[in-house]
Amino acid sequence: MGGGAKVPPPTARRAHKPGTSGWRANLEIGLLSGPAIIIFLTFVIAPVFVALYYSFYNWQGWGPARPDQYVGWGNYTWTLTNKFFWQAVGHNGFIMVVGLIMQGPLAVLVALLLNQKMRGRSLIRVLVFVPYVISEAIAGIGLRLMLRDDGAMNALLGTKISWLANPKIAIWTLMCILAWKYLGFAIILMLAGLQGIPEELSEAGAVDGATYWQIQWHIMLPLLKPTIKIWAFLSIIGSMQLFDLVYIIWGQYIAGIAGVSTMAWFMAGEGRLSGELGRGSAIAIIVFMISLFVAVVYQRFVLNRDTEGALTEPAKKAR
């Protein structure tokens, strides 16, 4: 028997009515939410400040950072004047924009097709989702072997293309890999959005004499907009953090030469993997600022109306 073992007197019953908060309620709030808040603050919020502190030191991780290791803005200027960093930023931007253009319309189109009456739709939905479930690292190993110059892809197509090493091709190979990995996720989101649209609307369109594609374009697509916007946000955040696939497929050194380096790849290579933790922290802060900027701009100008409801409504609903 837990906390309900003692039958509370009638007054206590009213005491825990919504709106009142006695010491007991406060204690419960503290006990229930305390551990989560401590872990969250320690491992999600605090790292930002830890990074901020060490980003001003030329520090390799042994002992505390000494005053003579203080370099001021040195790590920041080093990063911001590094042409490989800006190459990586450019690649991230490219991946973000091209990823949206490549995957968005394709995902909507496939979702519209799969939203029709057909057999085996749930099976297709599962299979399309398979690449998303596999670890990036594991998928990357397989793809790296497949796309080698003497690998299965060239054997299958009868070509001799350097999918990974040729700097002109590599970035497009990466875009295709990303589409392969994440399109299933996009399709599932779009399908979910489409299924939330009442069927009466398209039926009404059909009664009024609209063709199938007119219905999709004028009725379904506008109603799918909120889903598309949220997918785009997730996709943008994802392209900002891209690391696993690039690091596994191209490795620590080749990604830069092949023209597929990303900010996170640069951060890992110049920071942790070369033992320069102070510099790694500075890069982390810069990358964090860039991502935050992009996210906030997107929130402000695109997502605004939709998330306002999504983020505040549950809190309002709760008493």
Partner: protein, 294 residues
Amino acid sequence: MSTATLSGTQPLTLTRKPTPKDGGWGSPVIYFISLAIIAVCLGPVLYVIMGGFRDNSQINNNPAALPNPFQFNQYAEVLKTGRFWRMAWNSTFIALITVVCVVVFGVCVAFVLARYKFRLRNGMYLLFAAGLMFPMTMAITPLYIMMTRIPGMAGTPWSVILPQVGFGLPQTVIILTPFLAAIPLEIEEAATVDGCSRLGFFTRMVIPLAVPGVITVAILTFVGSWNGYMLPLYMFSDQSQYTLPLGVAVFSSQYSSDTARILAYTSMSMIPALIFFSLFEKRIVGGLTGAVKG
């Protein structure tokens, strides 16, 4: 069998009244496109699994062919090594502890946010909502520094588990809070009238009612942890701590000429996630749907 029954097996489908149109097969074009998409999606996966059944000379002769004859050596050897089982255990242990912590702490916070009224509630909700904007990739360097500073923490599974719990909480809280808030007030009042304290209400009513949401969150967290690569890469330098993605990646660069064995290793670490996914497919897909609808 009409499609009405098919869609009945899918989560979050609006209940559709079967109309005469529903029974049809649809246009063949859809099936053709679907097949093409499935072929692209599954191609690399099948390449890896099939490649594990071929030996290196087969692969070198024709990289794209099917196994002929099937060779079971590679898989057998992977399964015989203690290394594989060690990594599988590490991955499982880390994922399970992460899930337990995320679920326990997440449900508690979601309950507070959904069922208590207090001054800081909105601030607390926004704190976790803002957590969604903090990608782990950016925090990973300072997290590594922090772990080396905490005595007895560096290189242990906890150095991966705790950050994963921290970064798993926002999504959990955001998914579960509306879920718990949706439990009708009348149920709570009825429980109160019957002499149940709010904590008693929590353990006896809320937790059972929250099970579907919890399962969704648990699966998302488990798959995320199982697939994680960058955090173990930063935290672990000792091979005995490696998780599967990290260990297989290291293996593939150590024995880069032994393609067949790498493929066997790769598919052996892929298969648990695939089995897990096929068991809980509806929950994962349904959970994502719910998360988006917010």
